[in-house]
Symmetry: C2
Subunit: 164 residues, 2 copies
């Protein structure tokens, strides 16, 4: 109640916290979507979307993986990956094959076309870097901070929200 017209001498009013809060979560949200917008333009040549590109990056780096492992690398569950992988399969970039050892598991394998796409993808980072014009060290530092933030947030999410 005293938040709307706070007298001087007090700490920052609670009302201001909503503004600050908006800046933080919104900045992250906006940056993520802005990044998606630039990638969308660059990736149009490759015919894949930004999340699909992330999947391909993991496959190019680690080779064939079961859906479970893929999800761990990307922090995504099967509800997101299943339809996404079907689209990649329809595009001829991956195959999905039941493991013979464990029929619960589905191996995601690169096709020849999927492996070949990597050559064209090599230009993507350069074009993104050129678009942003941001220093590599700056990016590296930002990544470190974001990863720390993500780790803290994930830890907080599993514990559940502490009650006040």
């Amino acid at each position: 109640m005293a938040d709307k017209s706070y007298p001087g001498g007090m700490t920052a009013p609670t009302a201001d916290w909503l503004r600050l809060d908006q800046q933080i979560c919104f900045s992250l949200n906006a940056a993520s979507r802005a990044f998606g917008g630039v990638y969308r333009i660059v990736l149009k040549d490759l015919g894949i979307t930004y999340p699909q590109y992330l999947v391909m990056l993991v496959l190019w780096e680690h080779g064939d993986l079961p859906v479970k492992k893929l999800g761990e690398h990307l922090r995504l569950d099967s509800g997101t990956l299943s339809p996404l992988l079907k689209r990649l399969e329809a595009a001829g970039l991956v195959r999905r094959e039941r493991s013979t050892h464990d029929e619960r598991s589905v191996e995601v394998r690169l096709t020849d076309a999927g492996a070949a796409l990597r050559e064209r993808a090599l230009q993507v980072p350069r074009r993104i870097a050129r678009s942003t014009g941001i220093d590599l060290d700056e990016i590296r530092d930002l990544r470190t901070r974001l990863d720390a933030l993500t780790e803290a947030l994930d830890a907080a999410a599993v514990e559940g929200a502490p009650e006040e």
Copy 2:
């Protein structure tokens, strides 16, 4: 061509750029989703989602706004806002009314319930801060960098991707 087996003395091979690229865009993506996860927990009490919370923040701060202005604050277009606002209206938090001056425009107005929800939302930033346990100065700095990044990315997106 010389990327696969690069001789010594050259700069970082293009192949490594894909890994670096993955780290950057993925870190941002993961942080954004991790933030969403924590907000989802905290906001469950208020009965709204993370993007809906962002809309309410803008309305609480700036008062009633047309959809267009709301979208400018949030960097969202009507394709995203229209269904979102209908859900907020169904929840009784906002009303949507055609402007009498310009019948193309739709004014989004807080209902009494929507305005009252602000009191409960005042605890959200505190609970988020407690969940993350991250220094406020760190957050402020991160926000500054992210906003700069977003600005650069948006500028790059409108120009279109420069060809190599």
